[in-house]
């Protein structure tokens, strides 16, 4: 039994082989695409924070389901394969700005191998939307 435990631990810290790295694309609130490569297990919030991705004001409550700042929008085909949503997450998600049918909180979604190559989006910035609207009106 203790041998099994040791083996498990080693597989987590062993050098990555081709299959272990998962490519993720984040589109931030200004529409900029950020690509990063991670190993499975971490939550998307942890990825954004630990990899210092350029997403502003993300994860204010540090993953305790007390805010909705890690709100992410998924593609339909990814969304339907995510773990079912818990009530606590739903409570906070309901309050999120720019909520969509394929929205989840990043702190509750953990990276898995099958997510390789997926793109997630942060809702477009309020300011940016206003700028877009203004420039459209000026034309």
């Amino acid at each position: 039994k203790s041998n099994q435990k040791v083996i498990q631990k080693h597989s987590l810290i062993s050098p990555t082989s081709k299959g272990d790295k998962i490519l993720l694309h984040f589109i931030n609130q200004s529409g900029v695409k950020i690509t990063t490569s991670v190993t499975e297990g971490a939550s998307l919030l942890e990825v954004v924070i630990n990899k210092n991705l350029d997403i502003s004001g993300f994860g204010a409550c540090e993953g305790t389901l007390a805010c909705s700042t890690c709100h992410l929008i998924f593609d339909e085909n990814v969304y339907k394969n995510l773990e079912p949503i818990a009530d606590e997450e739903l409570d906070m998600l309901d309050l999120a700005y720019g909520l969509t049918k394929t929205s989840r909180l990043g702190c509750q979604v953990c990276v898995q191998k099958w997510m390789d190559g997926m793109t997630v989006r942060v809702p477009r910035d309020v300011k940016d939307l206003r700028n877009v609207k203004e420039s459209a009106e000026n034309q």
Binding site: N52, A60, C61, E62, A66, C67, L95, A96
Partner: protein, 365 residues
Amino acid sequence: YLVCMNGVTSVSTLSPPSPASTVGKKKRELLSQDGPDLQDFISGELSEKSQWEEYRGNLKRQKGERLRLPPWLKTEIPIGKNYNKLKNTLRDLNLHTVCEEARCPNIGECWGGGEFATATATIMLMGDTCTRGCRFCSVKTARKPPPLDPDEPYNTAKAIAQWGLDYVVLTSVDRDDLADGGAEHFAKTVSYLKERNPKILVECLTPDFRGDLDAVEKLALSGLDVYAHNVETVRELQRHVRDPRANFDQSLRVLRHAKVAKPSVLTKTSIMLGLGETDAQIYTAMTELRESGVDCLTLGQYMQPTKRHLKVEEYVTPEKFAHWEKVGTEMGFVYTASGPLVRSSYKAGEFFLKNLIRERKTTSD
């Protein structure tokens, strides 16, 4: 926190291992020459106003960039007897301050005591963990923070009275997990304090209690002198900056109701600038606040507390802050404290006492 001298960050590089004696000698030579001093890392020289006008760094954030701290925002790292004494007193009395929890840059100045020698500290009640996660605030958050300490009102009142302050600011986290949002607990602290020390001036910076006006009333009638509640930002950015459970109209209702419940109370609010608001939006917000009977207004520069929080969109110049102070005074606020490092309770005691003294002088003349 660390600041750079003239925009240059010093980086130390690791040198390859060499015999201890040579390393020691080399190091000493380097350090004695141009090597940096601790003082070089602490911006001891707060720039003169003339140097601020010369500052050519970018003040408005462009896409993808992070703004550098302009010279007028560099503060001294708090050190010194008074600061340490206060820190120890607070720990001994088991008091939490928002000064520490929210990483306020003025901590050295306020705790050190200003020109009136009034040390101001803002005591945080109901724990150090909030039920909301706002994108500008670094106070800890949890869905269900630890339960309230029922002895806190009594102990806090006793400790503050013991401390011998002239002016104290009490604030709290949001406690949406409690039926009354903690209003009873908060109000009890104030009334116990006033019982022990009737002469002390008490300012309460309160949550919005989710709009529960009975809670607001309970607090307004607790014996406090100043009822403060922060709108934080202009109407248009509320959703972007604050927790979705908070909003501009709700905050205005809180401020209005405090006055209704106790007309003699002074109401106060605070706005952070630099989050992307426009001048017109600030002006409108100030007008709406004045119309809601708010007496005191403070305006300060938003500073990003951690990487989980909003980036600074703009560093507003000291001149611009002075402009808003003028606007506030013209609008009829009892006082408008406006400056990059001004915070809700920054020099609260001093401003209040200064005004009170001025008032008394004019009535006696």
